[in-house]
Structures are given as structure tokens and as C-alpha cells.
Amino acid sequence: MKIVSFALNGKKVSCEVQDRELLLHALRERFSIKSVKEGCGIGECGTCTVLIDNEPHYSCLTLASKVDGHDVKTVEYLGDAGLLHPLQKAFIEAGAVQCGYCTPGMLLSAYSLLMKNENPSDSEIREAISGNLCRCTGYIQIVEAIRDAAGLCKCKP
């Protein structure tokens, strides 16, 4: 077992994890963050995407011990019902959500992109979400949403 301390959605947290424990399971079981999904478990679908130091990572292939001293963000960081992040708003407006299973990971990849690039081209957007599979939407409305949100938000770390 190991103690890991890290920033989770802006708050300092600390917990004991097993050496072999994956960040995905730590977030779901120890912090009840269920928005992080296990779609394949081998880093081939993107539903478990989280931001570590503001860059997207697959939490299903990240040992929990690795985030000690780092910053971890999940979709809960972006906004809440009262104060949606412009990206979340744009996803709703553009029809970028269908079954919703890929949505949290997709939002985080988009958020990370907009943090680095306030005005991405469509091909930059497509590349930024190319590590997140979606079986429902065909991605078009997701790309539209990210483009729409790009002008509206400052995605600050």
C-alpha cells in the first residue's frame, strides 16, 4: 500500500492505494467519481480519460501511485448544473451527446485542447479527440461543439 497525495479537481486529497491499483479504480471506488468509465481496460477506447497536469491520460493504464504530487481532473471539475462550462453547454446545444458513455472523456480531451489552443481548426479538434472513441455520434456534433465553445471560454488550468 502507498499513500498518494494529489490535487483532485482542484482540491488536495490523499489516500492509501494498493501498489497495483489503477487510477481508474481509485477514482471510482475511493473517491466515488463514477464519470470515469472502463470501456476496455487496455487504453483503446478513451472512456476512462482523465487529465493529469492538464493533459489527457488513460486512467485504466495509469497506476494510482503515479499521480502522487500531480494534478488530476475529471469532468466534475468543469462545471456543475448551476454553472456549466461553455464546453458542456456547447455539447448540449450541438447535440454532441447520445448515449453519454464517452462524453466525460471526450469533454476532458476537448478541455485540454482549448487550454493550449484557443482557436483550434477542425483538423486540430479531430486530432485532439482521436483518442476517444464514440460509437453513437459520428463525432461531427462533438467537433461542432468544441468549435463553438472555443471562442467562448478560457480554459484555464
Binding site: 497495483r20 489503477l22 487496455i42 487504453g43 491520460h57 488513460y58 495509469t62 501511485s65 480531451s109 482521436s130
Partner: protein
């Protein structure tokens, strides 16, 4: 779910080497994108040494055309490094294509080398940059050419107590470089075939050409006979056609015939020609 193991995360190279010397049944983990998948699929080990907290393994330094890349540098960081863009464009390109954005943020150059997949994206560009690997253990240091480092598919000369400490490449100023991978989808797929090239030309003549082919033979390789053939030759369709045919011959010589070659050989031919033409 992973099988049980104990992990340590040293902060210095010396500590890592000490762990590797003292722990039984030990594996090095960097990004984890290959190792953890293998472990989920049944590979076991008792101990894991995580090297991602070791600053000295994440350095990038250049001295003229001699560039040393820390093995724990991620693909994303390599593809963003201006120095590598200038002097090792094929490597930058390969690092921009491997896996997905997430994989590029996690996976490292050292991990790609240590995994030694026949389809590894970074190996063909590293081959044309005459890569030499620096390897350390508590017993001492050694250096090995990349060509010798990979001894079989998924097998390197690295011993369990050894650590890859530097990936040293020769920058190629003045070369036209590139990397092309072919896969079944536009992104996030295993290369079915890859070609890395660095070409120096003088008007209508090839001065120096370096080529490496991945995903065709058990290990990515450089067709050195073809490189030699091209040196100094006139850059025309005839030469290019002949060179491409020689590459195919060389692949056949290494591997014999394989069912996949019905596809791969004509494609290699086409890609080599494209690369040489520019």
C-alpha cells in the same frame, strides 16, 4: 484488474539501479502503455520500478548533431521538441503518429524501444539516426547500437537489472526527412507497414540516403545495400525504381516469403519510391 506486485518510484537513477539490482522478478515501468496491457493479459512480475519520477531520465540535450534523449521522455514531448523537429524530423513525425493523444502523453521513447515490437513506430526513425543506447546497471555502463539492441521480436539485450539511460541519436541537418505509416484507420492503430527516410540531395543527385522499414520483418531494419546503391546516383525514375525493387529483394532475403507480403511488398515499393521522389 492487474495481478499483484509491489512498486517503487525512485527519484534518482542511482536508486533505480539499486532497486533493479536487489529486487527479484523486477520490471521497469515508464508510461505503462505496453507493460500494463501485457500484465492485464496474464504477464506476471513481483516488482515494478517506476522511472517516471527520475528527472535525469527526462532530459534532452544537444551538442551539434549529437542529441541525447532521456528514455522517459514522452512521445508528446518529443514531437513538440524544436531541436528534434529540425534535426530528426522523421522521429518527430513518428512521435506525432503513435497511438493516440493520450498514449503520446503517457508512452515514452524508452518504452517503445524496450517493448521492441516489429511494428514499433519509433524504431525506423531511430535506426536512420544511427541510434546508440546507453545502458547502466550497478555493475557498470555499456553502449549498444540500436541494430544490436533488438535481438528478436519483443526481445532486447536489456537484462532485468539494467536500465536504459540515454537514447543517443545523430541529427541529420540538411536532410529531407519523413515517416509514413500505413494502418487500417486514420489514427490510433498499429502500423501495418512503415517507412522512415532521410535524404540529402544535390540538384538531381542523391548524395546520401537513409531508409528504414518497419512492420515487414521481425525487426525494423535498414536496407543498407540500397542506401549504398543510391549514394551519388542520379535522381531519376530508373534509379528510384531500381532502389525500390532492391528494398523488396532485401525484405525477401531477410524473411523469405510470407502471406502478408502479397500486400506489403507492393506497398513498400510504392512508399519507398514516394519517399525518394520527395
Amino acid at each position: 484488474m492487474l495481478p499483484d506486485f509491489a512498486s517503487v518510484s525512485p527519484e534518482t537513477k542511482a536508486d533505480a539501479l539499486a532497486y533493479l539490482a536487489s529486487l527479484d522478478d523486477v520490471r521497469v515501468i515508464a508510461g505503462g502503455t505496453d507493460l500494463l496491457v501485457n500484465m492485464k493479459r496474464g504477464e506476471l512480475c513481483s516488482n515494478v520500478v517506476d522511472i517516471m519520477n527520475i528527472e535525469e531520465l527526462r532530459l534532452l540535450s544537444g551538442d551539434g548533431t549529437d542529441i541525447a534523449i532521456g528514455p522517459a521522455i514522452t512521445h508528446a514531448a518529443i514531437s513538440a521538441a524544436a531541436m528534434l523537429n529540425d534535426l530528426a524530423g522523421s522521429l518527430s513525425a513518428a512521435c506525432g503518429w503513435i497511438g493516440s493523444p493520450q498514449i503520446r502523453n503517457m508512452g515514452t521513447i524508452g518504452g517503445n524501444l524496450a517493448n521492441a515490437s516489429p511494428a514499433a513506430d519509433l524504431i525506423p526513425p531511430l535506426l536512420i539516426h544511427d541510434t546508440v543506447l546507453k545502458i547502466e546497471s550497478q555493475e557498470g555502463k555499456r553502449e549498444e547500437r540500436l541494430d544490436d539492441f533488438i535481438v528478436a521480436p519483443y526481445e532486447t539485450s536489456l537484462k532485468p537489472h539494467e536500465l536504459l539511460t540515454w537514447v543517443c541519436i545523430k541529427g541529420l541537418p540538411g536532410y529531407r526527412e519523413g515517416y509514413r505509416r500505413i494502418a487500417r484507420r486514420a489514427a490510433w492503430a498499429i502500423s501495418r507497414l512503415s517507412v522512415a527516410w532521410a535524404v540529402r540531395e544535390d540538384g538531381d543527385r542523391f548524395v546520401d540516403v537513409k531508409l528504414a522499414i518497419g512492420s515487414c520483418t521481425p525487426m525494423p531494419f535498414r536496407p543498407r545495400n540500397v542506401e549504398k546503391f543510391l549514394g551519388g546516383r542520379k535522381k531519376d525514375d530508373h534509379t528510384i525504381g531500381e532502389a525500390a525493387a532492391l528494398v523488396v529483394e532485401e525484405i525477401r532475403r531477410i524473411t523469405g516469403d510470407r502471406p502478408s507480403f502479397a500486400y506489403k511488398l507492393p506497398v513498400v515499393k510504392g512508399l519507398v519510391q514516394k519517399a525518394l521522389r520527395g
